[in-house]
Subunit: 241 residues, 2 copies
């Protein structure tokens, strides 16, 4: 008889099953830690270990003060799902690069983001992508903005593959850092409300910036995921002009 797995593993499996069976659909929030503690009669520590593993598995994302959001039903194989899966691939690539930084990703400040994205007159190469699930249905929209210096890669852009790798090889540069932004500084409430309304359609905002060794921003990806409650509270100048 095999030994009983640890408590947190059983809780993790339980939650994983609940997600897989749709009792916690993608885009919904899991019960809070306190609720799980109460219903499962375990300490918060144990619940957090189980949730941490779901985060590592890519099923859940958490934000302090907001909750635990289900973002996938099954662990991603980290594979290419569809032709136009541009940002998905980049995300995969960056996840690989970022395996270390899975937790503790640095945050982009609002100013940094504005600077990186919205320098007026900067003709960033913009690549639009659609992230598709394994069933072929769209999961999220995405944009990738490439620094004009490296815009010549456009004809080489892979249908499947990591964009930044192509640029690295083509130009002999090296991505030194990947910075991720999920939530941002507070913004004027009116705009926030408008975005919140819109977020019922587009959902959570994701942004990644790829930085070279000399600090230059190589490319920026941003994408929207169809999550209900994780609203985006960041404003990009390029978007509303």
């Amino acid at each position: 008889m095999p030994p009983r797995p640890p408590l947190y593993a059983r809780i993790e499996a339980r939650l994983r099953d609940a997600i897989a069976e749709g009792r916690h659909p993608v885009g919904s929030l899991l019960p809070t830690e306190a609720e799980l503690c109460a219903s499962l009669k375990v300490s918060r520590h144990t619940v957090r270990e189980a949730l941490r593993r779901l985060v590592d598995a890519g099923l859940v994302e958490r934000r302090q003060g907001a909750g635990s959001l289900v973002i996938a039903r099954e662990p991603s194989r980290g594979e290419v799902h569809a032709i136009r899966n541009i940002d998905g691939l980049m995300q995969y690539a960056s996840d690989t690069r970022l395996q270390i930084g899975r937790r503790g990703l640095a945050k982009l400040t609002r100013e940094e983001a504005a600077q990186a994205l919205a320098e007026p007159g900067t003709p960033w190469l913009k690549v639009e992508g659609l992230r598709l699930g394994q069933d072929g249905r769209p999961l999220a929209t995405a944009e990738v903005l490439i620094h004009p210096r490296y815009a010549a890669v456009e004809p080489d852009l892979p249908e499947r593959g990591a964009i930044y790798r192509v640029i690295e090889q083509r130009f002999g540069v090296e991505v030194a850092e990947v910075v991720q932004e999920i939530s941002a500084a507070p913004m004027p409430t009116a705009v926030a409300a408008a975005l919140r309304r819109r977020s019922r359609e587009v959902g959570m905002f994701f942004m990644r910036r790829y930085v070279l060794k000399d600090g230059e921003t190589l490319l920026v990806s941003r994408s929207w995921h169809p999550a209900e409650r994780f609203t985006y509270a960041m404003r990009l100048r390029r978007q509303d002009t």
Copy 2:
């Protein structure tokens, strides 16, 4: 002024620096949790969070009862280091696949290993590899054993790339599971002692098995890492006959 990072992050950075500077060389053991608690005046919980991050970063491996072993000075970019880096690549590939299971990998029993590896008369395709570090010096030796049914991939074997991916594409199969073995069931003490002696040369043993959906073993990789104290305590029939 930026806010002070959390305590565990500072401890992590401190240990990371100590490793990078060689104060904790690769192959040595870190101070025990209790020692770190005492010297840093923090709770064991905080120390464990810092160590967990070092494990996630790939700098440290831990084993219950044994200690925390330094296995790398800097976080791996997860990249190809050298031509003959066959198992290294596979490990990278499997790490990617296994991002989820970074913790809690299932274990191979001794019998399973013997069955997978040492069925007499089974002409497994054996690929020998040498894992090289970024400086070109060997880090570990490796063997990859491919199931005879898929041995026809030999001419296709990549010098750089994941072997199992090649097989998947070539034969239209799909790896459903990756099982990893680090330490194994106890073995006769005499053999253990002999191995322990030898382990001062070859070090820790690693083994991975790639399983198809129907349960068939697609390939097995095993490798030895030059770690001092993490001795190998598993016996493979194929090895001593």
